[in-house]
Structure formats: C-alpha cells, structure tokens
C-alpha cells in the first residue's frame, strides 16, 4: 500500500491507501453503496458527495446498512 493513512472505520482503526474517495473506500470494503448511510466525522455525508470527498487521515467513518426485518 502506497502512503497508507489511518482512519477509524466503523469504530476500528484501519489503514487505507491515501487518495481514495469515500465511494472508493466503500467499494474496497465490498459495500454496496446504494443501500448504506455514511457518517463522516459526526455528520451524514450526502450521497452526491461520496464521489468527491477524499478520505483524510484520522477521518471517522461510520457505515449503516439498511435493515428491514421486524
């Protein structure tokens, strides 16, 4: 991995390559981004910004998947 950076992903430290967008990070984690909500540093990241926002060192990212059972 070139220039890895450390982020907190779903509550755990994780090393990722620098320069990934949030969307690319989701893909790398094999997460289908259509059906998740992403919180970045305490705020929901709007869907249209996932392709633009680059993940920075020390970002705190929480991903919540749709859950449908009852």
């Amino acid at each position: 991995m070139d220039n890895p950076i450390t982020i907190v992903f779903n509550g755990q430290d994780r090393q990722i390559s620098a320069g990934l967008t949030v969307e690319q990070l989701l893909q790398e984690a094999a997460i289908n981004s259509r059906f998740v909500a992403v919180e970045l540093n305490g705020e929901i990241l709007p869907r249209d910004q996932r392709n633009q926002r680059e993940v920075q060192a020390r970002d705190v990212i929480e991903v919540v998947t749709l859950v449908g059972g009852g």
Partner: protein, 381 residues
C-alpha cells in the same frame, strides 16, 4: 380534559403518576392517545404489550398473518395455544388480559396503498414494526403525508436500528435511505435469522420513544439513528437530519400522494435480475489480481478437512452450504471461487451467477494448480 382516572387506574399507573415527567396529566394524555401499530411480529409483540401496560387509550393492530410455531422464539405476545390464530386476535387477547382499559382495534389486513390512508388517519402516532421494505417505505410516506410521528425500528441477525422519524422537524426514513432496495438484495429475518431477544430490545426502545412522543418530549431519538450490535453488545448513534431534497418530506417533494410511488414493484417484484456468466480465471491471472490488491472475495467451496490441510486464505463455504450463505455475500463485489481442482467451484460459480451475483470468477485448476505453479510449500493432498 374530558377524562379522569378511576381509582383502579390510579393504582395501576401509580408508578407513572410518581414521575414528574408523566404525572396525572401525562397519564391522561396517554389515555387519550391513539397509536397504530403496523406489524405484530418480533417488534410488535413487546411494543403492543408495553404500550398496553402503559395505558395508551386506543391501540390499532395491523397484521394479516397467523401465528406460526416459528414465530414464538421472539413474538412473545402470542402463545403456543394460539398457533394458527390471526396475530391481531392473539395479540388482542393478551392485551385485554394485561390491561382491560385499553381499547383494541384489530385490522387483519396487509397495510397497503389501498388502506394506508384510512387506517392511519384516526391515530396520533404510527409505529413501524413491519418486516419488509415495501411496507416500511409506505409507512414512512403516509406518516409524512399525514404529519404524524413514525417510531421506527428494524432488526436482522444481531443488528437492530431505532429512531423517531417525522417529529418536530426531524428527518424521515427517505432522508437517510432515499430508495427501497430491490427484492432479494437485503435478506429478511426468515432468510438470515434473528436472535429472539433482539426485537424485544428494539421494540422496547420504540415503545419508550412512542410514550415520550405522546408526552411531547424533546429528548427523543429524533435526529439520531440508534444502531445496536447485540452480539458485541455495542450501541452507536448516527446523527441524522432532514434532507431538504428528500423526495417525500423535502422542500419540493416528488412523492405527494401514495400513487406517486409503486410500493410493491420497487421492493417485491419486477426487479430485473441480470444473469451473468462465470469468468474463468487462470492461476497466473489470479496471482496478478492478488499482487495488485484488486478488491475481491475469495470463497473456498471445499470441505473443512481439506481447508485445514491447505488453503489460500479464502472464506470457507462448502459447496453444499453455499445456498444458505448467499444472503451474506455482496452481489456486486468481485467473487473468486476455488476448490481442489476446479470442478466443484465451477458448480458454485454457476450457482452464484444464477442468483444475480455480478462478477463471479472460477479459479481454474483449483488449489492443486496453485501449489504446482505458484507455491509448492503448501501440502498437497
């Protein structure tokens, strides 16, 4: 205020009356309230019982199903002797036993576009205890259209979520998850399982929030999506906000009547499934893929004893068990399957493609070819 509490009600609710946040005024408010509970399954069971015990005046129960033996691991409002009864009747009997002051209204129907408006109209608060996305989005949208708080909860496996939607300027479900997922993408509890206590945990959080909303409380889960991992017993919260661009509660909504959205077709049927063909992956192509750190999921479809002998670090899912694990695998990710020499994995790859997985590769020659061509240090068997 038109009603009063009888002596027996004062005794029954005495622990509420002691609380300054409730008191006689609050208890009367609960007595004058009407709550529509959609779904009498895992979430609906504790919800109905605690709301009834709390003295909600009128409880509407919506569920078309009958009690099945497989429900009783979590749906504790029903009982073994009530198997095969309509869930609304079974629940109503338990509620009447628990608190005869509660007026119960039973609707043994599926909550759908034809009845949603008239069912929801006579109630103050709607509670989402449904088990499918089509109904969830319908419940959300009718709550927005009728300007009623929607107490949301959902569960799967060990994971639960709860929040208060459409309350005091807060978000609706579509602000967080704008569109329903296609059918089959996200499994139901019937397909993926659920630990029986989880709907109890989440349903009671919903019941707590429903009571607080009826009491006009400010410190509710509004604006916070509570996520529970019951296996790790960890709670986390996501800050959620109303989205001004939301298609139903936004400033310029595109969904203003239930006819603007096709609730059945978006979730349940008519989802086009593209069937792909498995790709053949040579050992050297696979080595390149690993070296380039191309994201993929490696699945080893051999038996456990073979895996213990030697493996490539894949996820062990024996071919015979693959079908039951499909729901855990992402449909759009690249999946590479392998076995000992390529036969079983070809069957597995075909099965994955037939179930709508989009990028499936079969490792030709299997682990034996890998040992011969790449890594002779692994034991051959």
């Amino acid at each position: 205020m038109t009603q009063n509490l009888s002596v027996s009600e004062q005794v029954r609710y005495s622990r509420h009356l002691m609380l300054p946040e409730i008191g006689i005024a609050g208890q009367l408010r609960l007595k004058e309230s009407a709550v529509l509970l959609i779904g009498l399954g895992g979430l609906g069971s504790p919800l109905a019982m605690y709301l009834a015990a709390a003295g909600i005046g009128r409880l509407g129960l919506v569920d078309p199903d009958r009690v099945d033996l497989s429900n009783l691991q979590r749906q504790i409002i029903h009982s073994t002797t009530n198997a095969e009864q309509l869930k609304v009747d079974s629940a109503a009997a338990t509620i009447r036993d628990l608190n005869p002051h509660v007026k119960v209204e039973c609707y043994p129907v599926r909550f759908d576009i034809s009845n949603a408006e008239s069912l929801a109209a006579p109630y103050d608060v709607i509670i989402d205890g449904t088990d499918n996305f089509a109904t969830r989005y319908l419940v959300n949208d009718i709550a927005v259209m009728q300007q009623k708080p929607n107490i949301y909860g959902s569960i799967l496996r060990f994971e639960g979520q709860a929040t208060v939607l459409n309350y005091k300027g807060g978000p609706c479900y579509r602000c967080i998850f704008p569109t329903p997922p296609p059918s089959g993408l996200i499994p139901s509890c019937g397909e993926a399982g659920v630990i029986g206590v989880l709907p109890g945990l989440i349903g009671m959080i919903q019941a707590t929030e429903a009571i607080k909303v009826l009491l006009n409380a400010n410190d509710t889960l509004q604006g916070r999506l509570l996520c529970v991992d019951a296996w790790k017993m960890k709670f986390r919260e996501l800050k959620i906000r109303r989205n001004p661009q939301c298609s139903v509660c936004g400033d310029q909504p595109s969904i203003t009547t239930l006819r603007d959205e096709n609730y059945v077709n978006t979730c349940e049927t008519l989802v086009p499934v593209t069937i792909s063909m498995p790709l053949k992956l040579s050992i050297h192509e696979y080595r390149e893929l690993r070296e380039n750190q191309t994201p993929h999921i490696l699945i080893d479809v051999r038996e456990e004893f073979e895996f213990l002998t030697c493996n490539l670090g894949g996820k062990l899912i024996p071919l015979s068990k693959l079908k039951e694990h499909l729901v855990q695998l992402p449909k759009t990710a690249m999946i590479v399957v392998h076995c000992k020499s390529g036969g079983r994995s070809a069957t597995a790859a075909k099965l994955l493609c037939d179930h709508g997985f989009e990028q499936v590769c079969n490792l030709e020659g299997g682990i034996l070819a890998w040992i011969d061509q790449i890594d002779p240090s692994l034991p051959k068997y």
